[in-house]
Amino acid sequence: MFDKILIANRGEIAVRVLRACKEMGIRTVGVFSEVDRKALHTRYAEEAYCIGPAPARESYLDIDKVIAVARKSGAQAIHPGYGFLAENPLFADRCEKEGIKLIGPSAYAMRTMGSKTLARKTVQAAGVPVVPGTVEPISTEEEVIRAAKTIGFPVMLKATAGGGGKGLRLVREEPELRSALRMAKSEAKSAFSDDSVYVEKYIENPRHVEIQILGDRHGNHVHLGERECSIQRRHQKVIEESPSVIVTPEMREAMGKVAIEAARAVAYEGAGTCEFLVDTHRDFFFLEMNTRLQVEHPVTEMVTGIDIVKEQIRVAAGEKLSIRQEDVKQTGHAIECRVYAEDPERNFIPCPGRITSLRVPGGPGVRDDSGVYAGFEIPIYYDPIISKLVAWGKDRAEAIGRMKRALAVYVVTGVKTTVPFHIRVMKNRHFIEGNFDTDFIDNVFFREEEARQLANEEVALCTAAIQEHIEERRRAVSRNPGEATGPVSMWKYAARPGIPKIGQVGR
């Protein structure tokens, strides 16, 4: 086993990996950009090295700097988390050259699965069903138009190097095609430094179901069942759950088998995920394989009891998988809500800034994977994820109930978050009934929300008026300090012991 691991990431996922290392008694090395000196991952690592200025290109994406820290600190392995260098085969090559173990699959597996078109070819050869579309990446507008016409509208434009919903565009009719292509390419360019795209048939009302797999270098592979990620906003996953309400035991077995075939096709080592689209007939089509730890891995951990990050580390150290397929059991139901620093009232624009207070929910069945703390300044340079809130219940209804009560007391002040959005989803009838597809949020949920009457308006008005009243009184006192003993802060007012005079009984 490794003595020391470098975590080449930041935020919640770096903290997640740090936790696994600490639990295993492995020493940890963190890296941080200049704006992340006080970030949680810098605080929690046992050693921490600054690797440059805030822009990721000059720090977290700089292979030379990361390797230099690994050598200086004597780390034997690097965990890349997700994003940044996680699926970069050049980084995998470099680690191999330096004799440092990258915790993840081989550069070959990354290259094959990283190219959507090559991945399609490879898994198709292994007998995995895929969505109809182009097999080669295409670059000119004319080629794209020709391909789209051949496949038939609606089509999806997808970045060849894509992931995380970036460089993705749905095109329903031909006239939209050019502008959509331009935007897909520009996003792909800025996100992946590669603007090539391909075209796929768009499946109507699809559900997004993915299979978590684990493999070791001794040829063993298991799957840990499925996650459903159909609650998406603009093709970005926002809520995930396991198991999926539409997956039957037979379907799970079939999908698991196919996912393992896909993994075997590239001699996959470590944790990976095969994503599928499921159509209304419950037929499933391979979409892509993510050759890294997924954001949503905790839902699988909660229903199986398996610590996926620890398994990653063990197999990277050359150990055999500690579990066989027959040991994997899904118990109960887990749901994850991604809490972003975004303003749901302003079309989810990012809200960097300082978290002035934070209270994280606890209690039975609730897991919070966070990368922030009260007082932390969320930088503008990186993904706006604050935390992943996960709730487990013995069944889906209990999980929803727990998530609802946990979200209701999740307090983040100073920046806006998506917590209110999640509360609304948890109360939505279609969500509760399990009746949704990947377009549910954009097409159904927001429309229903607009028509909704808000509750407790008078409480909102009262409280705002009282706050304003206290503020005005405070300002008045500040202007006329002779009238009082001194300026009075809001906090002082708030903390002043007062005996509540209403609602008392029996005195």
Binding site: P350, V411, F421, G498
Partner: protein, 169 residues
């Protein structure tokens, strides 16, 4: 203290009176109630309205105008709230700024693209500028149709939250 709240097109009269401690008598359109409001974290209030208990997150938006966003268990109430006297003053003064719309940046970030030029005609809801923050590009729109009067930033500029970007008239 007397206030006027404006919710959409509705106007509501509110008055607040100290009862000592953290208790207030609040009347809304003449209906009185006793409210016990305790601040328990920055901008977060524990409110007892009679015996009903609420956690209320109050944000007073920066900028001119007393705009509030109040969160109660996932519901976001938006309204403006103004001291009655101030409201009266502003009314008397008239709206000098009618027909103008200043586009400001809602967050700190980088101006990636100006989609319009000075003098260009724009329709309501047209995208006018793209600001990037946290790896996301955000297209900002003008609520008002008209002509671009002035731009205050160039592509590549780093801007603070609330920074003026451009003016539509």
């Amino acid at each position: 203290m007397n206030y006027v709240a404006t919710i959409g097109s509705r106007e509501v009269k509110i008055s607040v009176e100290d009862l000592g401690g953290s208790n207030y008598k609040v009347s809304i359109d003449g209906v009185e109630r006793v409210v016990d409001a305790q601040m328990v974290a920055t901008r977060l209030w524990s409110v007892l309205c009679g015996n009903a208990s609420f956690e209320v997150d109050v944000t007073r938006l920066p900028g001119m105008g007393e705009e509030f966003e109040v969160l109660i268990n996932g519901d976001c109430h938006k309204f403006s709230l103004m001291n009655e006297q101030r409201k009266a003053m502003i009314r008397a003064g008239g709206k000098g700024a009618a027909g103008k719309a200043m586009i400001t940046s809602p967050m700190p970030g980088k101006v990636v693209k100006l989609l319009v030029e000075v003098g260009q005609e724009v329709r309501a809801d047209q995208g006018v500028v793209v600001v990037e923050a946290m790896k996301m590009e955000n297209e900002l729109k003008t609520a008002l149709a008209g002509k671009v009067k002035e731009t205050f930033v160039e592509e590549g500029d780093i801007v603070e939250a609330g920074a003026k970007l451009l003016l539509v008239e």
